[in-house]
Amino acid sequence: MSTLAFEIPYWGQSLLRVLGGIVAVLLPAGTIVYVFLFKMMSFMQSRLGPMEAGPYGSMQLLAEVGKWMQKEDLIPENADAKIYKIAPVIVLLSTFLLVVVVPFGPDAWFTNFQAGVFYALAIGSVSVIGILVAGWSSANKYSLLGGLRAAGQLIAYELPMVLAVVGVVIQAGSMNLQQIVVAQNTFEIFGWNGLGMPFVVTQFVGFLIFMIAVQAELTQAPFDMPIAESELVSGYMTEYSGFRFLIFFIGEFATAGVFAFIASVLFLGGWGIPFSWFGWETVDDVDDWMNIAGPGIMFAKMMLLVGIIMWVRFSYPRFREDQLQRFAWKVLIPISLLNIAVTAILKVAF
């Protein structure tokens, strides 16, 4: 870790962090929507997608945002107006709270929190509250069904997600996300340190379980029953319009981006490149330019993971609610418990 040539005052640091947080949430969200939702989905479905707004339709997202902003903000007559208005904000807020523990470089982090993994997993489930109150306060039966489904689903998949991360924590020996990144880039595979040791190699089962749970947490198909457009119209979002729907929409893809950030930190080595390439020993030796390159590496890994999530989303039909629960409780949780046991035994053995 290096020191800067000049000292940034505290207010300046805070401002930078807030700006960085907004960029770290909104930039991935916009990129995901354009690259995957607009273009990849279109190409998979033998069509072109948006082509008119800007070169190759790249300004389409701005056009959509403009459209949503100028739409009327409808509130159903019987809705619980206050809660109805707050709900989308809660969902988006949980995303912003989530991104603060993600490290983007040796010094490029928002807060270097010792129990970072714990915090991330706890805050990640705050969005359930937003979704549940959105479903309840809309005074719509479809919304209610969607909200209840979402609550059941998110709680069920929270568990395998936590349990999948436990393996990583055991291996890295730390709950600090920065430490986990460093561990992956300094560990050796049987004495060979050419690649570091991304935990996706040793924790492959955990990685799979984590990604499945993320898919469910993000309510993307095949786990999109809370929205289920062919059954519940649009689930908990049915009554929302205008910029409140926009907030939900941004929240959906921003959360996808942030969860992919966390997955890449936990399993793919995060911002780091194997330290042995440049002869770094600890995180303090890492050169300054990694603070610029790190976010780029993170972004690339995020796009890779979100690409997989979206690929699955566009090609799979959805589960039924009871099948989903059965899958979580009877398949994912036992496997992740087994994974923890095996990891712990091997950790002691080696």
């Binding site: 989905m41 039966k141 479809y142």
Partner: protein, 390 residues
Amino acid sequence: MTMLNERQQLSYIAAQAADARLNVELETEGMTLNIGPQHPATHGTLRIIARLDGEQVIWAEPVAGYMHRGYEKLTEVRTFPQVTTLINRIDWLGSFANEVPFILAAEQLMDIEAPPRAQYIRTIMFELSRIANVSLFLGDLGVQLGAITPVFMAFRDREYVLNLIEGATGGRFHPNFDRIGGLKDDLPKGWIDETKQVMKKLRQFCDEIEDLLFGNEIFQSRTRGVGIIPADIAKSYGMSGANLRASGVDWDLRRDQSLPMAWDKADFKVWTHPDGDSWARCWVRLQETREATKIVDQLVDSIPSGPVMAKVPRIIKVPEGEAWVSTENPLGEMGYYVVSKGDLGPFRVKIRSASFNNISITPWVLKGVYVPDIITILASLYFILGDIDR
């Protein structure tokens, strides 16, 4: 008491238990969910009233009639040639197939028969409209279950079939090509070669759908064992078409009755499935699309030459009498009972459309299922709103 299989018994018990919980034990209020008339899954304006306990349906009833257009009455103020324009719009995805039974009934009353070439072309167009209809079902099935990609593949390949229909008739959706005594026109030049290529593409499309959708574990777990309709129940509700064949009843009007059409000249297999669940209904339709492409291939090879129009008076007056003709349409049995009093137009027409009977089983089959299964079962029963309400 009809024979129930084990799964139906279990779901019936579950429904009873749900009812008991609802009324006695906890005294919770059930929720009545109106699925439709405006709902993404109802292909138009069907309304299903479902009483729910949690997500389980304990009672359901379809409400049809939001799109009633009074076709039976409208035919009474049309002349016979004008009626085909109207009845095109009953099942709008397989329009040509709607015209055929009515024209056949009128021909039967007038005691004329279309020349062989016209019969062949009629059969080819009939099967093309079946392909256009069912291929859209195969794509839409994915949307109903949450997979968005298959429907675009269906639209892409269905376009080729619609182009064929347009090439021959001039109309993509509503060809209005059938005439009493034959057809409006002969086939255009080069149409037969193009048809063969398109049929090849459609068989590829069927393979694609089979890989993408039918081979998917989630699709199988959503459809297998869901919405089982035993054969005798299906018969007693008057179901027809692929829905009946999926319950194991080997019944196909193309093969089982002799009409002045060319089906007996083609060699095709009538697929049945013993299970009677949603999976079976979808699978039978997939196989039928394949068979239809084979029928078209065989018929365009052996199409005879000659006129496409029999000798018919310029002003068509159908002699007094009554006739009933039904054919195996894409959705099931479609029939017209035509009563003529010797006028320019029919005195009374009764239209028997397949979807109305197919959808009438919903109160029986939806009992005890979960909300997502409502959509699966409705999708697999495959109805067109115009065909229900007429």
